[in-house]
Amino acid sequence: MKILICGENPLQLKMMKNELEQEGDEVRLSWSGIDLMAHVIKFMPDVLITEVLLPQINGFEFIDNVRKHFPKISIMVLSSLRSEHLIDFVFRLGANDFVFKPFDPETLRGRILKLQESKNSLLTLNYMDYVTSV
């Protein structure tokens, strides 16, 4: 699985990378906000893990752009936001999952797998609809 992690704290990102690479995923990191979209286009990840408060760019706008241009990418938002209104807003922008910080890095892989499973089942349903024209 190809995973792109965007955030502000390099040590935290590196740690997540280590954690996910142990399971054989291909992981790339980005902690500079300016060229995030370029990273997404180049790498074309299956899963994008991002924070909302990103350096130099607006995280909400970034999530919105990714969802608009790459509908197949699963977006997992990692944030310390607690406001229900903002969390709801993040989901309305197109995020698939929301992980509260502080989080347990060892459970991250499980969350990603669950996310991909739900995405695959949705895709299968879509495919069946298309074939049977129901």
Binding site: N9, L11, Q12, K14, M15, N18, F103, D104, E106
Partner: protein, 401 residues
């Protein structure tokens, strides 16, 4: 007196020094040669001044005021040139130093990150050797930064590493002796790494005049000593800002601190402490000596009264009804609205009778609030019994609209 005219005195003193210096410059300009004669890069300064001073000495160019002012102007120009040079050098030096520091700290931070990851995911023994030689300030900063983001076994490993490297001793020493902005960083580190030994050192900082240290210390003490977490409220002389009240509340929830008896702080002389206690009682629906809350309905501060009324309404304290009725007429409109909310708990004929007595003196917007909060049957009764004055009819039409 001296303090008031300090600027003027300083200006006069500088002027006097300038005049004194200009006398030396005048003597220098009148001389044909000087010790740097012949060095073109500097000699031009003397040559120009010397030429003009000589001209002012001749019969045609003799002028008393110019003879005095020219050396003054020349001195100012020389001083300005030196001043600009010095400031430019100073700025460049500072910039060079800050870039160097930034590069050094970035390199060290990256190195620290790599070694920390090696410790968490690789060869622990080799990483320990490297960690002991790293800059401890950067190490603390990185470890605390990561600790704030994660929980679970990795967070526990990080904490045990912190103690293994004796960074707890390091931060205790730094809290004692470093400058105030560094103190904040190390107090925060003590809080996140649960260095309970630092509590005695941090405790006095809860009462210092510096608001930043004070607030960080108060939050740290909540995590480090849950049993006496809010003892600082008993002796706090400074105001407790709302944003800090929110931080204290969040720290309490995140650290799972046992909720203290906030009723104990309701008689504090510090109004902000009383407000904080009222908010906490409301948020945690804490039960206690309700008389203390009822007493606050007649507090001198209208914000305290308003918050007390909110608590009475949320906790449904029926004993407060009489007191609320007693102070209704003396209250501000905003608080009267809150009082109506409280009185709406008691849906009896007595309340209706009370409304009848105060109706005429009450403002239309409060009347509207009253009509919103009484039972439909009581509302009908009130409409039937009250005189059909203009404001009343308007109120009724607003309610129906």
């Amino acid at each position: 007196m001296l303090r008031r005219y300090k600027a003027i005195l300083l200006f006069l003193a500088s002027l006097f020094l300038l005049v004194l210096l200009s006398l030396f410059v005048k003597q220098w300009l009148l001389q044909d040669t000087w010790w740097l004669e012949g060095y073109q890069w500097i000699d031009w300064m003397h040559d120009i001044g010397h030429f003009y001073m000589n001209f002012l000495s001749t019969e045609t160019g003799k002028h008393f005021l110019l003879g005095f002012l020219f050396p003054l102007l020349y001195t100012s120009m020389i001083l300005t040139v030196f001043n600009i040079g010095f400031i430019a050098f100073f700025i460049l030096f500072r910039r060079w130093r800050s870039i160097n520091n930034y590069v050094y700290f970035s390199r060290m931070r990256e190195k620290t990150e790599d070694v920390l990851l090696e410790y968490l995911y690789g060869d622990k023994d080799a990483a320990m050797v490297k960690l002991r030689s790293l800059n401890r300030r950067i190490l603390v900063k990185e470890m605390v930064g990561l600790r704030k983001q994660i929980i679970g076994s990795k967070a526990d490993q990080l904490r045990s590493l912190f103690y293994e490297l004796h960074l707890d001793d390091f931060i205790i020493r730094k809290i004692k002796y470093s400058r105030w902005f560094n103190k904040i960083m190390y107090i925060d580190a003590a809080q996140w790494m649960l260095v309970t030994r630092a509590e005695d050192v941090i405790e006095p900082y809860q009462y210092v005049t510096n608001v930043y240290i004070r607030n960080v210390a108060q939050v740290a003490c909540i995590s480090l000593s849950p049993d006496s977490a809010f003892s600082f409220l008993n002796v706090l002389e400074y105001p407790l800002p709302v944003w800090h009240q929110i931080i204290l509340y969040k720290s309490m929830v995140l650290s799972s601190v046992p909720i203290p008896d906030f009723y104990a702080y309701l008689r504090s002389d510090n109004t902000t402490v009383v407000l904080f206690a009222l908010n906490m009682i409301r948020l945690f629906s804490q039960r206690g000596d309700e008389e203390k809350i009822i007493a606050l309905v007649s507090h001198e501060d209208p914000i305290v009264r308003r918050n007390a009324l909110k608590v009475i309404c949320d906790l449904k304290i029926y004993q407060a009804m009489e007191t609320v009725k007693q102070y209704f007429q003396k209250e501000t409109i905003r608080n009267q609205v809150n009082m109506v909310h409280v009185l709406s708990l008691d849906k009896t004929e007595e309340t209706l009778d009370f409304y009848k007595t105060i109706w005429i003196e009450t403002k239309p917007n409060v009347r509207m609030e009253i009509l919103k909060h009484i039972e439909p049957a009581l509302r009908k009764k009130l409409q039937d019994t009250m005189p059909s004055e203009r404001g009343f009819n308007e109120t009724i039409s607003n309610i129906h609209a």
